[in-house]
């Protein structure tokens, strides 16, 4: 029955719509014949959220009308995204529909239209939440992989989620690019919201906050702006380093900050560096960031990267063997974001070629990303990068000077050379002005020890590693 009604709709829509619209939106849908037994009903599966919304807004009414014409009575019409294997639907329609039949699918963002006139949107609920809080529902503590790199930050975040406003205020989370800061802070917001849906939570990126300030200027609506930000129970503000020299925005934030902390409302801040290092930020703000707790997220080590890949594969419902996960994790080291990009690439590649994900397939797929990857880091490049970072001369890398401001960067560079290149210690010593290999050994031990005690240095080393690994 389902196939009959859907074939009927397809043939009618094909004649009514421009071919490209038909091909792009209507043919992307599959009729779920496994589900309903009810008469006069049709359940359609869209490959993703975008197609679902697009079809819902533009074609659903018409499909409902066609159903009514076919059955001679109003038809129950449902549009959903399959919970698993969603993306498989388009790569190979035949395989996808077979899969849909076998696997009982759970609706993600379902839309049920009993008759075309009374559209009931269940998927609307998460849209409303998003509209209110700007939180991405996918970012939760459950989907966050924990390891040594983010253990402390996660523990602090859980604390804040349990006792917002009273445990650590503000919570300041910093770390390099693409390590999951946004995920972590949104997880706090989502946890609090789930516990108390009446809590007024707002996630805002600094650039959007800045845009709000500009808009308040243009519309002379500073009162409303202030009232809004001071009415929040929780303010999550992302990438505070973008405040750089935006003075009026900083001033507004300063007042909002004071009002919120006084009222024991939670503030959560992320940044790409340690508070004292933020460029162009007023001192009075920086000192306030010290009131609460400052925690760092570090780049994940190999095992954690493998665990992250496994988790993401689970979400995509694909099988990822250890050797493939290991291959990807070994090649993409510096951030989680590109790790995810690489996994998506492997999955898409396997799907397009109709193969399962093997080591061989992964190697082929990653060529597009890794082609230029495995360039060998040269010691000159390391020296230059470190010298630039500490604003000293490259010549100082080779010089005999032993003042702290020069010697320390030189030791950092030696440590990086040992960590990032396959060169021998004597060769490294040679490259640093003909020093003995024991000097290099001493430098490496010094840096390794200092990193545990001096978190400024630790941060520098992380940033440099990230830059050098690209």
């Amino acid at each position: 029955m389902t196939q009959d009604i859907w074939s009927f709709c397809l043939s009618r829509l094909e004649s009514e719509l421009p071919p490209q619209q038909f091909n792009t939106w209507i043919k992307a849908l599959t009729a779920d014949c496994g589900s309903s037994s009810a008469e006069a009903s049709l359940r359609l599966l869209a490959p993703n959220r975008f197609v679902l919304q697009w079809v819902r807004e533009r074609y659903l009414r018409r499909i409902g009308e066609l159903g009514e014409e076919f059955f001679g009575a109003p038809m129950q019409l449902e549009l959903a995204i399959p919970a698993t294997g969603a993306t498989a639907a388009k790569a190979n329609a035949a395989v996808a529909s077979a899969k849909v039949v076998q696997v009982p699918v759970e609706p993600l963002g379902t839309v049920i239209v009993h008759t075309p006139a009374q559209a009931v949107s269940q998927g609307g609920a998460s849209d409303v939440t998003y509209e209110k809080t700007r939180l991405n529902a996918d970012f939760t503590f459950d989907t966050l992989v924990t390891g040594r790199a983010n253990d402390l930050a996660r523990a602090a975040a859980m604390q804040v989620a349990q006792n917002p406003g009273t445990s650590y205020n503000p919570l300041f989370i910093y770390g390099g690019v693409g390590l999951g800061k946004t995920h972590l802070v949104q997880a706090i917001g989502n946890a609090v919201y789930r516990h108390n849906p009446r809590a007024v939570i707002r996630y805002v990126h600094v650039e959007d906050y800045y845009a709000d300030v500009v808009r308040a200027y243009q519309q002379k609506s500073f009162d409303a702006f202030k009232r809004y930000y001071r009415s929040l129970d929780m303010l999550i503000i992302d990438d505070i380093q973008f405040f750089n020299n935006k003075n009026r925005t900083q001033e507004e934030f300063f007042h909002a900050f004071n009002a919120l902390t006084e009222a024991k409302k939670q503030i959560i801040i992320t940044c790409d560096t340690y508070p004292k290092d933020i460029q162009g930020l007023e001192d009075r703000l920086i000192s306030r960031f010290d009131w609460g707790l400052t925690v760092q997220i570090e780049p994940p080590e190999l095992e954690m990267r493998v665990a992250i890949l496994k988790k993401k594969a689970e979400v995509l419902s694909v099988d990822l063997t250890d050797d493939v996960a290991f291959l990807i994790a070994k090649n993409l080291r510096s951030n989680v974001r590109e790790l995810e990009g690489a996994l998506n690439k492997v999955v898409a590649f396997a799907r397009f070629h109709g193969r399962s994900i093997s080591l061989e397939v992964a190697k082929d797929a990653l060529k597009d990303l890794l082609n230029a990857h495995n360039r060998q880091l040269t010691i000159e490049h390391i020296q230059k990068t470190v010298a630039d970072y500490y604003k000293i001369k490259i010549a100082d890398m080779h010089s005999k000077k032993r003042t702290r401001v020069i010697a320390r960067p030189r030791q950092v560079a030696m440590w990086l050379a040992k960590d990032l290149t396959p060169m021998s210690l004597p060769a490294i010593g040679e490259a640093f002005g003909g020093r003995d290999h024991t000097t290099v050994l001493h430098a490496c031990r010094t840096i390794a020890d200092l990193r545990l005690a001096d978190h400024q240095l630790n941060h520098d080393v992380h940033v440099l590693t990230q830059v050098l690994r690209g």
Partner: protein, 224 residues
């Protein structure tokens, strides 16, 4: 002999998928089709003249004909913001040339894409890792589905030559195509301008394009 004067009329088909010679880029074309359906952001990279801009234009055309708003933008021309139209497909060419302010614009576009239901199609001349951009923007590019636009082999180039010629009503013998590919520059813009020159010469002289004509033309200064 009087030469025929030629009207300065060009006909050029707008770039779309039907006039892109796919070669080894099948998966990429498929992914672009899915991107129009909102499947995810895509980053294409490849050497100059590999067809990146052509593909972007093609995706924009496809999107528009499917009813989804789409725009093509040059990296050097976007200033400090990208359009915030809902459901827009933004094709941004040559991100390796993004000026500093525009890099923040791209960063913001990535952050807002989910809320605005936008899809980003980006191109550049190198792999994401090699891009000399802000780290926060660069890693977001690395999170896209990444494809290298594979350069064409000679068989594909021959097919393109034949197609370009046919569009102008010219028929090139196989030996002529082989000759051009042996002696000339083989990137696409060069091939396209060569066809233009041949078309012009053939009209002027009222002769079909043959190997002898090609040789004569070269002697009179046509650069292959």
């Amino acid at each position: 002999m009087m030469e025929q004067l030629v009207l300065d009329i060009h006909l050029d088909a707008p770039p779309d998928f039907s006039n892109f010679v796919i070669g080894e880029n099948g998966a990429l074309i498929e992914a672009l089709n899915l991107a129009v359906q909102g499947e995810g952001h895509i980053y294409l990279w490849g050497e100059a003249a590999s067809g990146r801009s052509h593909l972007l234009h093609a995706a924009v055309a496809l999107s528009q004909s499917a009813g989804r708003p789409a725009c093509y933008l040059e990296s050097e021309a976007i200033g400090d913001s990208l359009p915030d139209t809902s459901a827009l497909l933004i094709a941004l060419d040559d991100v390796h040339r993004l000026p500093a302010a525009a890099q923040i614009a791209l960063f913001n576009a990535f952050n807002r894409a989910r809320a605005l239901n936008q899809t980003l199609l980006l191109t550049g001349d190198r792999a994401p890792r090699e891009l000399d951009l802000r780290e926060d923007a660069r890693t977001r590019i690395g999170q896209c589905l990444v494809f290298e636009v594979k350069p064409l082999d000679d068989a594909s180039r021959a097919a393109i030559l034949a197609m370009l010629a046919e569009r102008r009503g010219l028929r090139l013998a196989d030996e002529v195509i082989a000759f051009i590919l042996r002696h000339g520059r083989r990137d696409l813009p060069s091939l396209a301008s060569l066809i233009d020159a041949l078309d012009h010469a053939s009209l002027e002289r009222k002769r079909p394009i043959t190997l002898p004509l090609l040789r004569t033309l070269m002697q009179t200064g046509l650069a292959l």
